[in-house]
Structure formats: structure tokens, C-alpha cells
Symmetry: C2
Subunit: 150 residues, 2 copies
């Protein structure tokens, strides 16, 4: 049903990523998972999403290998949803979205939640796109090498 190729399952990795995540709710679920949410109810309260939608999203995230369902850590019979390694690899995506939001949608003095380095409590360094040899790259410094060109 959700399955393959909502978008062209093209050779473009961006499209496949987008397809794999599914929708915005899924991305916010992943964000909450990074922030420590594990239980159905935690996600539901945090997001305010309808339960049937949450059920469906959790299922596709598990099916897609982003989350996995494990026995609850408190010993109860319930289950919890935790990020797989593949899910954890979405970290830069979430951080990038967060930094973009911080820069463009908040006034200088407007409060917002902040992602900090646990050791020192400082906010993070801005993400940088770097070349193989470490030069900082702007969009104009890059080009898409299409498959058909190869």
C-alpha cells in the first residue's frame, strides 16, 4: 500500500530517502525518537497526531528498518520503538532541518528548543558540506553527476 515508488524510484538517492521516510509525521517521529521517546503514548502526546496515523507510521518505519520494536525497558509487557542503526544515520538530516529552522524561523530573542552537546551543554557547530579534501562547498561548487552521463 505505502510501498514502493510514491515518487519515481529513480536513481536519485534523495527521492529514495524521501520515499523511505514516508511523510512528515514519520520524520517528526524520528526526531522524537532522537529526543528519547520510545513508547506509543509518548509519541502520541508529543506529536498530537491521531492514533491511527501514528500506528500506520510506526509500522512503516519498522518495516523500513528505521525503527525496531523491542520489549519495553521497564519490564512491562508493552513494546517500545527504538532507532535502528539505519534510523540513527538520519541524525544529520534532523540536525540540518533543525539548524535551518533555527536560522530562518525564529527571532533572535525568541525561545526555542535547542540541541546541545551533552558533555558541555553548548549548542552545536553548524553543519558544513565539505569536499573530499576538506574544502567547504557551497551549492554552486557542486554538480550532480547523472547516471546517464557515466
Amino acid at each position: 500500500m505505502v510501498a514502493r515508488t510514491r515518487f519515481d524510484d529513480s536513481e536519485c538517492p534523495v527521492a529514495r530517502s524521501v520515499d523511505a521516510i514516508g511523510d512528515w509525521w514519520s520524520l517528526l517521529i524520528v526526531r522524537d525518537a532522537f529526543d528519547g521517546s520510545r513508547r506509543f503514548g509518548e509519541f502520541q502526546r508529543s506529536l498530537g497526531v491521531a492514533k491511527n496515523i501514528l500506528t500506520a507510521r510506526l509500522r512503516t518505519l519498522v518495516a523500513g528498518g528505521v525503527l525496531e520494536s523491542v520489549p519495553a525497558s521497564d519490564g512491562s509487557a508493552y513494546r517500545e520503538y527504538v532507532l535502528t542503526p539505519k534510523g540513527k544515520a538520519l541524525f544529520p538530516v534532523i540536525v540540518a532541518l533543525r539548524q535551518w529552522g533555527e536560522q530562518h524561523f525564529f527571532d533572535a530573542d525568541e525561545p526555542h528548543s535547542e540541541l546541545v552537546d551533552r558533555r558541555q551543554g553548548h549548542s552545536l557547530r553548524a553543519l558544513e558540506v565539505l569536499s573530499a579534501d576538506g574544502r567547504r562547498l557551497n551549492p554552486d561548487d557542486t554538480a550532480v553527476h547523472k547516471v546517464s552521463d557515466q
Copy 2:
């Protein structure tokens, strides 16, 4: 209509970013814009999206300050859509999604489009989340500092 708060317009920058972009199509439009697409028809052919949807998405992206509509560069009476500085700031988001896709959705030998450093033609360095003092951070090394905690 698209307007505010499809999601809680919470204090979370991720949610605001997601809200500002709108939907997946919009993100793929931005990706194409980075790849050099400028004209309505270019986006339409590249994405295969219905024209009414594309019209709506371009409009909201322009309204949101991600794209701007400028006179066509070839002197014709048509218009083109180009990234604003705010739109260009989405670069790390696109790169992060691309790298995630490359790592998890392609076999080692499977061909895919590639983003390369224009100067040298090499692929890019993987994005890293760094602390203020340059240590590399994993998700577990970070914490969300909630507004209410402040």
C-alpha cells in the same frame, strides 16, 4: 490554506522547517533547483508531478521565501524560479538526505546519481555533526534542551 501550523507550530525548529517546506514534492523541487532546474517545464518533466500540484508548490515555496520568481534568463517573457539565500541554506538538508539514501538504498554496484565537487569531480565527504569545539557527535552525545527547562 497551506498556511500556518499543519503541525504544531511548536518551539521546535524541526517542526517549523517541515511546515515551511510543505511536502515532499517541495523538497524534490528544491533538490532540482540545486541541480540547475529553473523553468516550470523543467521541474515538471523532471518530477513527473501533475501541473496543478507543481503550480501550488511553486507558489508556496515562493511565498515562503525559498524560491523567487525572476524574469527568464534567456530574454523570453516567461519566468524562472531560483533559490533565494534561504533556499540555498537548505543545501545541508538535501545533502544529508542524499547521503542517507546512498548508504542505505543502493547496492554497492548499483548506479545512482552522485553529487560531486565541481573542482575535482570527487564525491563529497560525509556530513558530520560536530560540537562547538569540533568533536564528532553521535545522537547519544546530544540532548534537547527544552524551552520549558530554561
